[in-house]
Symmetry: C2
Subunit: 326 residues, 2 copies
Amino acid sequence: MILTFTPNPAWDVTYEVDRLVAGTTHRVHTVYARAGGKGINVSRILAKRGIPTMAVFPVGRAVGRLLTDDLSAAAIDHDPVEIGGATRMTVTIVERSQADRPPLEAGRCSPLRDDVTNVFAEPGPALTTDEWSALIDRVDRHLARTSVLVCSGSFPPDVDKSGQTRSAPARLVEMSKASGHLVLLDTSGPGLLAAAEAGASVLKPNAQELREVVGLDDLCSGAQALCSAGAGAVVVSAGEDGLIAVTAAGEAWCARPPFRVDGNPTGAGDAVVAALAYGLSTGASWPEQLTLAVAWSAAAVAAPVAGEVDPDVLATVAGQVSIVPI
Amino acid sequence: MILTFTPNPAWDVTYEVDRLVAGTTHRVHTVYARAGGKGINVSRILAKRGIPTMAVFPVGRAVGRLLTDDLSAAAIDHDPVEIGGATRMTVTIVERSQADRPPLEAGRCSPLRDDVTNVFAEPGPALTTDEWSALIDRVDRHLARTSVLVCSGSFPPDVDKSGQTRSAPARLVEMSKASGHLVLLDTSGPGLLAAAEAGASVLKPNAQELREVVGLDDLCSGAQALCSAGAGAVVVSAGEDGLIAVTAAGEAWCARPPFRVDGNPTGAGDAVVAALAYGLSTGASWPEQLTLAVAWSAAAVAAPVAGEVDPDVLATVAGQVSIVPI
């Protein structure tokens, strides 16, 4: 079972409007609303493909109930921890005319454009020390039947009962390793480096997140720096350039899709994480894992909202991923 | 008691961001979320001033629960009708830097700017014939202890049990008049004209809504046309130009605030309606009603969200409203 932990989940609302005109009222022609947050998106992708998963996250107040109701309706196993603060919302405004939407054509190339997506993200509630402890305990309780732990998103400071503050990602890595489990993290900032130093199995920063933390422009060198710090492997998502993967054993690959897919890039990184977690759980080789990750990511861009993959794009891309050792 | 009827309520979310940059992710620094829709905003303004009110509206699914929970918490009397469809949300994005917000200074003038507000409005659920009948029955049930009925917003077609389609605003006007009650409508399109023809006590279109329906550019002539059609009085909200009021008895006034107030104009019209409904319920003279309406409207612009009035602006404006017979 793949356990996902989402410290700051959200009720994700996506609005499609014909055109965004500043200072006016817009009729929303298409609405998507669902439980979101990076780890929950990972669980959704896995559950839809029949892969056992469990989502742990905090929920608070009325918006929190929207998340649990939605996950129950979608038959995605979840074990939320009640908190006092209100679960946040995010709103994504996509400019896409109803007439405009092209039929999905496998293999189509330029001229393509990404939809213009405008994301408005609430910061989310603060967690008390007791709430954070309850979340860590809940993750720990599920570890015994877990193959891979996925920790995704932004983390609050990890304040323990004695008042000591540590890196939350580092604590989660240490907890997983102590019980012999693989742990995959998709986070940014100081937590990314702390997770590497704690010996995370796999880290999945995007290009910008990696550059911010290691201060190196070259993605391969940056990934190697995190491996040198202690990570087992680093997979960098670089948008339409695909993925760069580097392992502590000194292997490195560049994995690319056969063509660019246009659509909503929100959630493409979550699809990469879902594929890597699944690959890790089945003991797949790195080239096999990366093939899956590129195909799921491309298929996520073609789907209208995070947590979904387009089956036609998935089928087309899966057989044509380029994996090149570097 | 002032009864409000809101056929298409919403969970109104307002986000303040520093600056809207197309195609990027925005950190929302201030979040407001509350039960909304024009009639509910009217009830909120009245209830906050201790004026007895009751809000009737349809509610559906999880978002519907957010509305009823919020109104209960705010101690606003409401009697919702359960429907099968999901209550909609609206999202308003206001560009306003946290540092930017000026302290409220009474009497300040230009250079002022309105906040740039971008509204994203979901269309809302369709109502079945039975649901619409249940709503009308619910309004009817409260009429006995009502002084003024306020009907605000967009209306679905009024399909009766024999399958006949009529104007919903006209039906509400006829129902109120048959039981001897005053009825005030804030709606647009064909319903505005139908409400006039049915003999509405007061209509409150804005300048654009009036021009669209009567096809006359001059607001005074347009308001007179609706009075000629059958309305008892027409009060036109014309933004910073204030209000134009015309009665079937041939009286007419222009009512203006002493200075322009900057802020969020969403909900200013609801404040006008709340003041007029209160004035009607107390038998106030037209100049008294219009003074109240201008002051509440200005104070609503200064408040960050619809359904609120800024007490400092209210106190300052109330004594300085200009009422000129025309």
